[in-house]
């Protein structure tokens, strides 16, 4: 079934080949399992330490994977130190707004660039694609200055307005809609449908796979973003989850409260991990397909 399967084995070779294949598979499994353990051990340590009241001041010596004094008090301490629940809700508000606005912009423009042959379409596409090359770090200072001038710093407009510029989404939608037949639009036009009604009624329902991909990518992006909220939000009531989590960071060399920091980290990870648990196959699939296109 695999490409490695020998197609034309000569009879005497077959036996040896088979055992060596078994051995190779075993060796591969061994290496992959070792790699997986390396990937997962930090997580396990994080979760175990987060329940260890004994590690609230210092990492116990010798370090262990089993909590010395298992307790939920670490979580209560994390939640009373910093209002993480509020920041999680804030992040959800930001994520929903950004997803709605950016998908609106990306789907409409992707459809128009794919199916409506309007004058200037090529120019718009080139413009959008070339801005994808500009790193956010280039534009963060003038964006900050712009929002400062229009007095929108410390509001969620700092996330919602730039969400209009989701050029990568436009690109994904254009690619996806390119694969849908254009005859649907032409037939509808002949039947007297309005250009503005065709997309929501005919094409949008067909766009669900790319819709879901974009929701996932944008949610993860908003949830994990630190630098822009750090610049644009000063009022602690407005903080997003990553800013709240960053409050547990102490840059003084001696790191205190390991189990409480880990409890806060675990809390911040819950929504993403739940999403990953249910949509794991789908997320991996979207990365595989969108990554190459990018």
């Amino acid at each position: 079934m695999d490409k490695t399967a020998p197609t034309l084995p000569t009879a005497p070779m077959q036996r040896g080949h088979k055992t060596s294949r078994k051995f190779t598979s075993f060796a591969i499994m061994f290496i992959l399992c070792a790699a997986s353990v390396t990937m997962v051990l930090p997580f396990i340590w994080m979760v175990m330490t987060s329940f260890d009241w004994g590690a609230r001041l210092n990492i116990p010596f010798p370090p262990s994977f089993w909590p010395e004094d298992p307790s939920l008090r670490t979580y209560r301490a994390a939640l009373t130190n910093v209002d993480l629940i509020r920041y999680i809700l804030n992040s959800f508000v930001v994520a929903i707004g950004v997803i709605v606005i950016s998908l609106f912009s990306a789907l409409l423009s992707g459809y128009a660039l794919s199916k409506i042959r309007f004058r200037g379409a090529g120019l718009v596409l080139v413009l959008a694609l070339s801005t994808m090359m500009i790193p956010f770090e280039m534009t963060m200072i003038p964006q900050y200055m712009l929002f400062n001038q229009i007095h929108l710093l410390d509001t969620y407009w700092v996330f919602f307005l730039p969400a209009l510029n989701y050029a990568f989404g436009t690109f994904l939608c254009k690619q996806f809609i390119d694969g849908l037949p254009g005859e649907l639009r032409e037939a509808a036009l002949i039947d007297g449908a309005s250009e503005y009604g065709i997309f929501p009624r005919i094409y949008l329902p067909l766009c669900m796979p790319i819709f879901a991909t974009m929701v996932i990518l944008q949610f993860l992006g908003v949830w994990n973003e630190l630098i822009w909220p750090l610049l644009a939000l000063n009022n602690p009531d407005k903080y997003t989850i990553q800013l709240g989590l960053a409050m547990f960071n102490y840059n003084n060399g001696s790191r205190q409260m390991p189990s409480i920091i880990m409890a806060a980290t675990c809390i911040s990870l819950i929504p993403v991990l739940v999403l990953y648990m249910f949509l794991q196959k789908y997320i991996v699939e979207s990365i595989a397909t969108t990554g190459i296109k990018q």
Binding site: M39, N58, F118, S194, N224
Partner: protein, 312 residues
């Protein structure tokens, strides 16, 4: 709206309508791309132009004054800028190269497994750290990489008789530790993309090689790697661009001074410091343009090397 009339008769009149300067189709098209256009112009092009202008103006109170290229020459004479660039290239370049090598090996191994189910499990495990935010990763690793003997990694090294290492406190090692951290979180992403690419290598080539009696390693070296060349190129370019943008992790670990001893001062951290801590916007925007040009040049060089190799 405007097009309603035109639409109802679109059937017969498309030819006549098309002669007008803007047909109803054109108007509809521009209406559809309007949100994107507002976003691109307002939050991408305008900031680029605005940053360019700021970089030619004075800093702080003198921000209205045109100073020409002064900011650029000040940045280029700043040792801190060059130090930051060195650190950025060190961290970004090493994590990109090691990331590509390791993830390609992992992807090849996963790809060779004959069981679809097992492959998916490994994919899910390797990708897991990728959904964890940079903040969470930095907090976790600053505990795992605790400089004392109670740090988990140091404790494990102790079994092999290695003394505690100051992962994030020793200036000569801190950059390497950040590279390890980036590898942990980013390896899965590259692995997934390589796996998707591996599936696209045409089967016939392997079958032909099997007839010639090629070994698995030989096929990997002479069929798989050459046919994935565009993917490697893509990964290198993306790795360089992403590597040059490191901020969150180094800021959390080393603060805005890039501790220990400036070993973790990256270019974006340099820009951030100048803009938001000492309000030298002219310096910061000049530095960001220099970084942008540098990334652009690096990308062009990589593409150039690739096209030359392809000719040979």
């Amino acid at each position: 709206m405007v097009s309603e009339n035109a639409q109802t008769i679109a059937g017969q009149q498309t030819i006549a309508v098309r002669r007008k300067w803007l047909s109803s189709t054109d108007i509809a098209g521009w209406c559809f791309v309007l949100p994107l256009l507002v976003g691109v112009l307002g939050f991408s092009l305008y900031p680029m132009v605005s940053a360019l202008l700021t970089s030619f103006h004075g800093n702080g109170a003198a921000s209205a004054q045109w100073v020409g290229l002064t900011n650029y020459s000040r940045v280029l004479q700043d040792d801190l800028f060059w130090g930051a660039l060195y650190n950025t290239i060190y961290i970004g370049g090493l994590s990109a190269i090691l990331g590509i090598v390791f993830s390609f090996i992992l992807a090849s191994l996963v790809h060779h497994l004959p069981w679809q189910r097992t492959r998916n499990v490994f994919k899910a495990i390797f990708f897991l750290p990728n959904v964890v935010s940079a903040v969470a990763t930095s907090l976790l690793f600053s505990l795992l990489f605790h400089p004392g003997k109670e740090g988990l990694i140091n404790y494990a090294l102790n079994w092999f008789g290695i003394d505690p290492v100051g992962w994030f406190t020793d200036p000569s090692i801190a950059r390497l530790s950040v590279v390890f951290m980036i590898l942990w979180s980013a390896l899965g992403y590259n692995t997934i993309i390589f796996l998707a690419a591996l599936q696209s290598v045409p089967r016939e080539q392997y079958e032909a090689a099997d007839i010639d009696g090629a070994s698995a390693l030989g096929k990997w070296r002479y069929i798989t790697i050459p046919s994935l060349r565009p993917i490697f190129l893509f990964m290198i370019v993306m790795g360089v661009i992403n590597g040059m943008k490191q901020f969150t992790n180094v800021w959390l670990i080393g603060g805005s001074a890039g501790n220990p001893s400036g070993a973790l001062m990256t270019s974006v951290l340099y820009i951030y410091r100048n803009a938001f801590l000492s309000s030298q916007l002219g310096i910061a925007t000049a530095a960001s343009y220099l970084l942008f040009v540098f990334i652009l040049l690096l990308t062009l060089v990589i593409l150039r090397i690739n096209s030359r190799n392809q000719l040979n």
